[in-house]
Amino acid sequence: MSTARLLHVVRCPPVFALVRGLILTALFCMGCSAIAAEARIAVAANFRETAMAIAAQLEAKSPHRYQVIVGSTGKLASQIINGAPFDVFMAADRRRPQQLVERGLALAASEQIYAVGELGLWWPNGPGTPALDALATLEPRSVCVANPAFAPYGEAAWELLQRAGLDADWLQSIVRVDNVNLVAGLIAQGQARAGFVARSSLIAGKRQGTVAAADGDVLWFAEQAPVDQAMVLLTRAETNVAAQHWVQQMQTPPIRELIQRDGYRVSVKQD
C-alpha cells in the first residue's frame, strides 16, 4: 500500500484534499481489517517473550496471523473496557479477565488459566540469601517493584511486603515501575539494588544475555505467592477463527512445553 507521499499539498484546493485524505483514511482502515484470519493478542508484560514464541509457532503451522501487544495487565484491561480492538486477553491475574466477563466484554466459557507464574525477590550482591525483612536496610529508592495498581506481579509483591510487616512509610517510597519486565532490567543495569521479578523475566533476560541472575541471589515465593495467569477470548472476536485457534492451542502439549520452559508452571486443572 505505498501511495504517494502526502506532504505539503498546499496547492491542492481544499475540497480535493479533503476527499483525498478521507479516501486514504478509509483505505487504511479497511486494509487493517481486511485480512480475515488475523488476531490481536493482548499479553501481560511478563508473558511477552513466550507469547511471541507461541505466535511464531502457530503462524508457522497455520494460515493465521497474530499480533502480540504487550502491556501491564491493568492497563490492557482498561484499554479493552475503553474499546481497544484486541481479540484475546492474556492477563497475569484472574481478576481482570473475570471483570471483563462480568462486563460482557469476554466469553465466560473461554476463561482458563494458561500459566502460573512465580514471583521472586532478586537481590544481587546482598547480605547472603535475600530475605524480606532485611530489605528495610536498603534505601527505598533502590528497591523496585511492578506497580501494584495495575500489575499483578506488583500486587503479589506488595502483599508479601505488607505481610512481612515492613514500615509503611518505607513501603510508600519504593520505586514502582510500569510492568514486571522492567524490574529485572533495572536491577541488571544497576539502577536498582533489589526488586521483585518474575521467573520468566529472568529466563528471558538470560536468553537475551541482558540479565544474569545467580541462583543464590533470588528468593522464590512459589508457595506463598503463586501468580495465576488467566486468559479470555473477547466477545468482539467470537467469530474470529484465528483467535479461537489460539485459545484452543493453549492447552496442547507443544505449547504447554513452551510455557513451562519459560519459567511457568502449567496448571492441570481446568476452571
Partner: protein, 225 residues
Amino acid sequence: MSGDLQAVWLTALLAATTTLLLVPIASPLAWWLARSASPFRSFVEAVVAMPLVLPPTVLGFYLLIMLNPESVVGGLWVELTGDSLTFSFSGLVIASIIYSLPFMVQPLQAAFRAVPESVLEAAATLGASPRDRWLNVVLPMAKRGYLTGCVLTFAHTVGEFGVVLMMGGNIPGETRVLSIAIYEHVETLNYDAAHMLALGLLCFSFLSLWLVYRYAGHRFEVVRG
C-alpha cells in the same frame, strides 16, 4: 526493524491526513477570527489556543471518555463501522485534528489579517464576489500562511505522544506511532532502537522548523497562552 518502519509509515500517514483535513477546517475559522469584530472572538481564540497549553494527557483523557464505545459519539461510530473509535487510527485522526488545531489556525489567522481590507474593496469594485475575492485575492496572498500552517501541523502531529498514549494505545499498524514506539523501546530497555528513532525524529523536527523560518520567517506567528 519492520515494526519501526511501520511506525514511521503510520506516523507519516497520521500527520498527512491530519494536515489535509485541517486545511479546510481551519480556513473558515481563521478567516472569521481574522476579520470578525464579534465579542465572542476572544472566547473562540482561547478555545482554539487551548491545545497549546493544555497537558496532552488531559486532552487524551477527555477524548477517551467522549469517544468511548459507551459514549454517544463512540457508540454511533461502533454502529456505523463495527469498530471502536478509541484505540483506532480514525480516533487518532480526530484527536490529532484537535491537538494540532492552533498550529494551523494561528498562522492562517495571521496571514489573513495581513490582507488589507483596501485590497479587498478594490477587488470588489472590479466585479469580484466575496467567494471570488477569497479564492483569487486572499488565498494567493495567504500562501505563506498555508505553508507555515501545514509544516507546523505535520511536525506537531508527528510528535504527538500524551494524547496517543491515553486513547490510542500501542497497536502496531493502527496506533503505534513513532513516539509510542520510542517509549516502548525504552520500556523494554531496547536503547539502541530508541536512539535511532529518537534521533531521526529530532532531525526531522529541526528540519521542519528551519524550513518554516527560512521561507516564512518574519510572517510566522504562534501565540503562546
